[in-house]
Symmetry: C2
């Protein structure tokens, strides 16, 4: 079991008071370049400033400024526009904790100042509701997103308090949370928000302040969900998880981001109240969702229409939704279960989602973003529809765009990248657990003293991870390393040569001298991955992965005259090209044969074109070389 933390001001995103693992503050994990270090730099220098410029330009910050004046104003943006400002406050706060003072602090302070001024005397704070010329407060639980916005405000306040020690925003948040408890607590409104989010925020506010009423209110919201307090809706009550009580559900369903934020908050409630029945239900939901409703990228959400999970095994690559925010929310859910249980499978999914959803969304310059993350892009045609402000009016199927009318994804990426270090390792009295691999310096404290580790790796380009013990107590400690589920054949060298290790958490329990090196080797040969045959949409296809990265075939890598829809993989030729790059051998089919006209009748033999070797690209870096079509799942030659 974990030790109680002394310093609640450490910048830790999630601080359970019970569970198996104890998280480290962002300041304790310094990422030194590499895959994630580069993205954290991009986040600070480009993604965050880019997002800040848009919330300013579109006057979403202006809404808060105008609300503070008390004068009549026209609200800009959607009903959740406030929340994008809050997520950016959270991102900038974690960024401050991670890398210290920067030019972002000025923006951060200005944003917080506006918030404090915009709050109503009774604590309510939303720029679209409640003023004499506006729709009344709490008149639209379906779409109003009031409690949703409050949730993001509270999360940002906790982040800011833990990162800076300032209580300015925390005071706004507690006043708001007190208002929520009064309005929705015992004897109050028997309602939940159409979009879960307040739950996970209230528990963290409880953790940050120690005020039990916030936990109690979070529990009320979690228990109330699924009792049918939201009105009838054409996508069904599952859309906002109001169909089945959380503790009775067996799988995630409905709107993916809603489902995952709710699940994250429900884990928090279960952990803080010692509700093992609820925790077990959430673990079962995670297992079933992973086995039947998750894409190979870690993406979640199969439907465009309702941005929702599909039925079991409905995982179409070409109409995958896989909203970036669902990836962020999935990491939130998995991280809480990892802290609660210590099981490596949760860190496996976090890694998959980080590399293939979070890293996929932003462009290399950090100035455009995938909202949805398709696994199969069939056409290059069509411009994204932009409004008069130059903002994309559609989330799905648009390519990366600078900003969206519904622009949750860019700030969500920003707060996740800023807090990436928090997912790398945990530490308890006995030792340190490494969950994600990145070149980094980890500083931690165990019962016997300080443990500092240097991690040196080019992962995921290389599978070699060198851990140098920089400082350790003289007594024995327990270091553990996650060997990913895909890494069969991994070896660990603790000083006496490489020894095979199984997948899951591998423990090394001994005393360490400063300078002691451990070398973990994860096998990084590219591999073919075949789908469960119940996933109809990719039957007869294969994907290629290497380490934690899913690869994709882009049309720009095909010879002139070849089309992605006419290519099949020759699996027998293996993977890789003469340079050692990830590549597949494919044959092209001449389309002069095949079906003509009616596509379900009369097939004539087709002439096969040449067989060639084509390079694949990591999925996260697709669509960076101009207009292209792309597929992750490639048909296998010789199937029907």
């Amino acid at each position: 079991m974990q030790s109680v933390r002394e310093d609640t001001l450490d910048a830790i995103p999630v601080t359970p008071s019970a569970g198996t693992l104890v998280p480290l503050p962002l300041s304790a994990v310094a990422i030194a370049g590499g895959f994630w270090g580069e993205r954290q730099r991009l986040n600070r220098e480009s993604i965050i400033p880019h997002a800040v410029s848009w919330v300013n330009r579109l006057e979403w910050v202006g809404n808060l400024e105008k609300a503070a004046t008390g004068e009549k104003y026209e609200h800009r943006g959607r009903e959740f526009a406030d929340s994008e400002v809050y997520k950016l406050i959270e991102a900038m706060s974690w960024e401050h904790a991670r890398s210290g003072a920067s030019e972002l602090d000025e923006v951060l302070d200005a944003f917080i100042g506006k918030l404090a001024e915009a709050q109503d005397p009774d604590g309510y704070l939303h720029t679209l509701f409640g003023r004499p010329w506006q729709q009344p407060r709490y008149s639209d639980f379906k779409w109003g997103h009031e409690l949703y916005c409050f949730g993001h405000l509270i999360q940002s306040a906790v982040a800011n308090f833990r990162s800076t020690g300032s209580t300015k925003l925390l005071d706004v948040a507690t006043k708001l949370a007190d208002h929520v408890c009064t309005m929705f607590g015992p004897g109050g409104l028997d309602k939940v928000c159409g979009h879960a989010e307040i739950e996970v925020a209230l528990v963290e506010l409880f953790r940050a302040t120690g005020r039990r009423r916030y936990l109690d209110q979070a529990k009320v919201f979690v228990e109330r969900r699924g009792t049918g307090t939201l009105p009838l809706f054409e996508f069904g009550q599952a859309y906002w998880q109001d169909d089945i009580p959380v503790r009775a559900a067996t799988v995630l369903r409905g709107h993916a981001v809603r489902a995952l934020y709710l699940a994250a908050g429900a884990v928090d409630v279960a952990v803080e109240t010692g509700d093992s029945e609820l925790l077990d239900a959430l673990k079962l939901q995670w297992d079933n969702t992973l086995a039947r409703r998750t894409y190979i990228t870690g993406g979640m959400g199969s439907h465009h229409m309702d941005e929702a999970f599909g039925d079991d095994f409905v995982l179409p690559p070409d109409r995958s939704y896989c909203e970036t925010c669902a990836g962020v929310a999935s990491i939130m859910f998995s991280w809480r279960l990892l802290l609660a249980t210590g099981e490596a499978k949760y860190a496996d999914l976090i890694e998959r989602t980080l590399y293939n959803i979070v890293a996929t969304s932003p462009s290399a310059d950090g100035k455009s973003f995938f909202y949805a993350n398709t696994l199969h892009q069939r056409t290059t045609a069509g411009e994204a529809p932009l409004n008069a402000d130059g903002v994309c009016i559609r989330g799905g199927s648009t390519g990366r765009q600078a900003w969206f009318e519904v622009s949750c994804c860019p700030p969500n990426v920003a707060r996740t990248l800023a807090s990436f270090g928090g997912y790398v390792a945990t530490a308890d009295d006995e030792g340190v657990q490494i969950h994600q691999y990145a070149s980094s310096r980890i500083r931690s404290k165990v019962a016997a003293g300080h443990v500092d580790l240097d991690i040196d790796t080019e992962y995921p380009s290389s599978g070699r991870i060198v851990v140098t013990v920089v400082a350790a107590p003289s007594s024995s400690i327990n270091l553990s390393f996650r060997v990913p589920g895909w890494a069969a054949g991994a070896t660990l060298d603790t000083g006496s040569g490489p020894k095979p290790v199984g997948t899951g958490n591998v423990h090394v329990n001994q005393t360490f001298q400063p300078g002691h090196q451990l070398i973990l080797e994860l096998p990084m040969q590219p591999r073919f991955s075949l789908p469960d045959d119940r996933i109809d949409a990719v039957r007869g296809c294969v994907a290629v992965e290497r380490g934690p990265e899913v690869f994709a075939l882009e049309s720009v890598d095909l010879p002139a005259g070849w089309q992605l829809e006419n290519v099949q993989v020759d699996m027998s030729a293996g993977l890789g090209d003469a340079d050692g790059s990830v590549a597949v051998t494919v044959r092209g089919l001449n389309r002069t044969g095949g079906h003509s006209g009616w596509p379900f009748e009369v097939q004539t033999p087709r002439k096969s074109m040449d067989t060639i070797v084509v390079p694949l690209v990591p999925y996260h870096s697709w669509a960076e070389r101009g207009s292209s079509t792309m597929r992750i799942w490639i048909p296998v030659a010789s199937t029907l």
Copy 2:
């Protein structure tokens, strides 16, 4: 070329003044029982009365009554509620023409009376717009559906005029159409309706009245579409076909019903104005849509989100939309091209759509309807969401429902079934062309005199079609019969024994004595159909068809303990069971093996369960035996 019709009061749905084939009035084709005769009876006795009761109960008729009073009222239903009343007027009018006076005539007259009273002095008629307390006329071209409703009114008026000879409703329609020409003609509003429909209606009104301005206005609307007069929209301008001019498009795209109604109207404009470039464009669009965007059922529309066509080869069976109304609209489009060209492929698609979409929508008791027609039902779980009126609030994925908030499908089925006879045959100076097979008496006139034919068949249960010439002129005439594209191996016996005939239209040019019999034998062995391999969603699967009917495997036909998701077809065992029914041999896979947990990794060999023979049901009769799962496309054993 066709002869000019003398009698414009004949009840013919579509009367082109040029083209290849000349349609027959409904009264000239008497369906005598069988597949379609039974459904026409069901339509008269159940479907139409059922729909009438709903438009009364929900006060959609009441909207028209209240509008007539001039007093303030609360509009009931959606913005297109008027149009359901109009489609029912059309259905009852064709029903009157088909089978004479009935108890429906009273309802019909009452509905028409209300319409006449509700019309504004300037001709405008819509119950949701334009009154002092309502949204202004023509203030919402995206969603207002004003011209859409006008179109259905005009179609119903033409149907009523041609079926009864009464001009009461035609007068309302011409007054309304004159208003439209004034408002949207030269110098008027440069707009089109978000939902095409007025185009096809105005051309038919021109044909019924001879007033050229209606044709001119239809042409204006067709040419204006695709020039970007509709506002920016998140689903893209293709949703309402405002992305590309009709004559420049190469494939149907966007909302399927919108696209198909527009295409039907555009064919009418092309035919009446002799615009061969436009006609060629529409033929190309039909060809490409058939080859790349049409389901094996004839269903069109791959997306739930926007009820739209997908990209080429995006034809997922489990998220197929295939709206019933798109099937109706597809028949309208194909019928017009058939009349224009005489090519059998258009009648082939009409047949496929009639048997597998139009016949699938209504339940056996005619009191519930599929709105969307999925090809793969994965779960039996979940009740359809009904509002306080007992009306289903969602179109897709609900099973058959009594009525919908958007309830275009039931009245569209009703008008199609009532006018089914119109699709059976055509006649010109030289002879008679049979396009669809049903037991019937066909009376027609050719240059040399009357031709009466008795068709006797149990099609599609049997492929034997016996045509008896009841009356014929003494000179030679040309009888033609469509041999469907799937009917390789058909024979025709014109009196001297069966002779092989190819697919397409088969002509018999000779003199006939009364009593002369011709026997067409279409091969009705069930057959496996394999998809074009670019249709990713059904790779490695096979469908079973027999004649024009697509078959389906329903879970209620599997032994206890078997699940549809674990079944694979053994194609080598052929089709059929000991009784000669349509059946497949399948093996069941035990799910204890396979992937466990993460579904893209580590497969262990699975034990195959028994191999059994299971019956299939015609797709149009699925979901009639309680809750079940269903699939048309079944995985083939031995593929990945």
